[in-house]
C-alpha cells in the first residue's frame, strides 16, 4: 500500500468534475435536446402538410371546378370556385414561380418530401447523439456524487524487483508475438497480392483465348447448322413426298394418330420433334438444343403456313379439326419445291433465335412470311448482338 501510495495518485472524480458542473452540463444538453425535438416536431408537421398537399394536388384535377371560399385577405372570403384545376403555380425558391401540371407538381413535392425526410433523419441522429451525451453527463454526475476516485499510477520498468520479474516474460511474449504475427500478416498480404495478380493475368489470357474460340465456334456452328438444315430440307422434300403417298394410304388412320400425337407435343420437346417427324416435315434432328429445334419448328411452320398455329407447342391442344386441316394444307404445301423453305430457313435462323421465346405464339407465321424477302444476315452477326 505504501509503495503504491508513493507512485500513484488518487484523485476523486468530484474534484475533477464537480457535481454541479456535471449537472449543469446535463441540463444544458437537455435543453438542446428539447430545442431539437421542437425543430423535429416542426419538420414532421411540414412532412405531414406536404403529404396532404400531394393528395390534394392529385385530387384537384379530377374535376373541372371546385366550389370554395376564395380567401380575400386574412379576414374575409368570397364565395367562388377553383378553375384551371390542372394548372399549379409552384414556388421554386428565391421568389421564382413556375406553372406546372398536377403530375409535375407532385414530382416537385416528392422532391421536397425527400429533402424533408433527410432533414428529419439527420435531426433524429443528432437527438440520439445528444441523449447519449446527456446520459453520460448524468452518470458522471452520479459517480462524482458517490465519491468515485480515479487512481493513476505511472508504469516504471526499471524497478524490476521480485514481484515485478514475473510479468516480464509475459510481456516479452506479448511483444514478440505481435511482431511475428505482423510478419506473417505481411507475408500473407504479399502472397495474396501475388496470387491475385497471377489470377488476373490468367483470367486475361483465358478471356482472350475464349474470344478467339467463340468466334471460331460461332462460325463453325453456323456452318454446321447450315449443313444440317440443308439436310433437313432434303429430307423434308423427300419425306413430304413419302408423306403424301403415306397419307393417301393412311388418310383415316393417320388422322387418328395425329390426334393422339398432338397432345403429347405439349409435354415434351423431344416428343414434339418426333411428332413433327411423323407428320413428315422434319426428319433430321441434328442437335438437341432447344433453339435449333424451335428453328426446325419454324421451318415446319413455314411449310404449313396458314395452319401453323395449331402445331405450335402452346396450342397443341387445339382441336383435332385444326390438325386435320393442317394435314390437308401440308399436302398442298409440300408439293412446292424446297426453294421456298430454303428462304424460310435463312429468315428463321436470323430472327427467331432471338425473339422466339416471347413472340412464338402469335406472330411466328407473320414473321416468317415477312422476313422471307429480307436480306439474309449472317448468323454470326446476329449472335453478336
Amino acid at each position: 500500500m505504501e509503495e503504491t501510495g508513493k507512485k500513484g495518485t488518487v484523485t476523486s472524480l468530484a474534484s475533477m468534475f464537480p457535481v454541479e458542473e456535471a449537472l449543469k452540463g446535463a441540463k444544458r444538453v437537455q435543453e438542446t435536446i428539447y430545442e431539437k425535438e421542437k425543430d423535429l416536431g416542426h419538420l414532421q408537421d411540414f412532412v405531414a402538410e406536404n403529404s396532404n398537399l400531394v393528395n390534394l394536388v392529385k385530387k384537384l384535377p379530377e374535376e373541372l371546378n371546385h366550389d370554395i371560399m376564395v380567401p380575400f385577405g386574412k379576414a374575409a372570403f368570397f364565395p367562388g370556385r377553383l378553375i384551371h384545376t390542372n394548372e399549379f403555380l409552384v414556388l421554386l425558391g428565391e421568389g421564382y414561380y413556375v406553372e406546372r401540371t398536377s403530375k409535375q407538381t407532385i414530382e416537385i413535392l416528392k422532391r421536397r418530401e425527400n429533402s424533408l425526410e433527410s432533414q428529419v433523419d439527420s435531426l433524429e441522429a443528432m437527438i440520439k447523439d445528444l441523449k447519449a451525451k446527456a446520459s453520460f453527463f448524468d452518470t458522471m454526475a452520479s459517480e462524482a456524487a458517490e465519491g468515485l476516485v480515479e487512481i493513476r499510477e505511472d508504469y516504471v520498468e526499471e524497478n524490476s524487483s521480485g514481484w515485478e520479474s514475473k510479468p516480464v516474460p509475459t510481456k516479452q511474449n506479448a511483444s514478440i508475438f505481435p511482431e511475428a504475427e505482423n510478419e506473417r500478416v505481411v507475408d500473407d498480404e504479399e502472397y495474396a497480392r501475388m496470387i491475385s495478380r497471377l489470377d488476373e493475368l490468367e483470367n486475361e489470357e483465358l478471356a482472350a483465348e475464349k474470344e478467339d474460340e467463340s468466334d471460331k465456334n460461332e462460325k463453325d456452328t453456323a456452318q454446321l447448322n447450315e449443313i444440317s438444315y440443308q439436310k433437313e430440307l432434303d429430307y423434308d422434300l423427300r419425306d413430304s413426298e413419302n408423306f403424301r403417298s403415306k397419307k393417301s394410304l393412311e388418310q383415316t388412320s393417320g388422322e387418328s394418330n395425329a390426334t393422339a400425337a398432338f397432345p403429347n407435343k405439349h409435354n415434351d420437346q423431344e416428343d414434339l420433334t418426333d411428332d413433327v417427324n411423323y407428320i413428315g416435315l422434319v426428319v433430321e434432328s441434328s442437335s438437341r438444343d432447344e433453339p435449333s429445334e424451335q428453328k426446325k419448328l419454324e421451318n415446319n411452320m413455314k411449310i404449313l403456313k396458314s395452319s401453323d398455329k395449331s402445331i405450335l407447342p402452346r396450342e397443341v391442344k387445339e382441336n383435332v379439326q385444326a390438325a386435320s386441316t393442317s394435314r390437308s394444307e401440308v399436302q398442298l404445301q409440300s408439293s412446292k419445291p424446297a426453294f421456298d423453305s430454303h428462304k424460310a430457313f435463312t429468315g428463321s435462323i436470323v430472327e427467331h433465335t432471338e425473339n422466339l421465346q416471347t413472340s412464338k405464339e402469335n406472330s411466328t407465321s407473320s414473321q416468317v412470311s415477312s422476313i422471307q424477302p429480307s436480306k439474309p444476315v449472317s448468323r454470326f452477326k446476329m449472335q453478336r448482338k
Partner: protein
Amino acid sequence: MDSHPKVQKYEEFVDGRLKPDLVRALAERDKVFEQQKVFSDLRRNIENLEKNSVTSLQTLVNLGSEVYMQAEVPDTQHIFVDVGLGFHVEFTWSEALNFITKREEKLARQIEDYTQLIASIKAQIKLLCEGIRELLELPAERTVPERVF
C-alpha cells in the same frame, strides 16, 4: 448585510413576475397590431374594388407550401368577413366597411390599453430597480448615463 434579503426579494419579483408579464403584454399587443393591419388591408382592398367597380375577379389561392391555383369569383358583391370566434358574416361592401371601421376602433382601443399596461409594468420595474439601488446605497448617477446611452 440586513438589506440583502429585501434586495433579493425585489429582484425575484422583477425577474419572476414583472418581466414575464411585460413579455406577455408585448406579445398580445403585437397580435392586436397584426389584426389591425389585416383589417386595414381589407378596408383598402374593398375600397379599391368599389373604386374600380369590380364585379368578378380572378385570384390565386394558396393551397399550402406555396402552391397556388387560379380561382374565380363570379360575384364580388357579397363578402364574408370574420367577426371573431370563427364566425363569418355575409356583408355587402358598405356593410363590410361599416363593420371594419367599428372593428378598427375597437382594435385601436385594445392597443391603447395594452400600451398603458406595458408602460405601467415598465414603470414598476424601474421603481423596483431604483429601490434596489437605494437599498444597496449606490450612487444614482451611475445608471442614468448608461440608460441614456
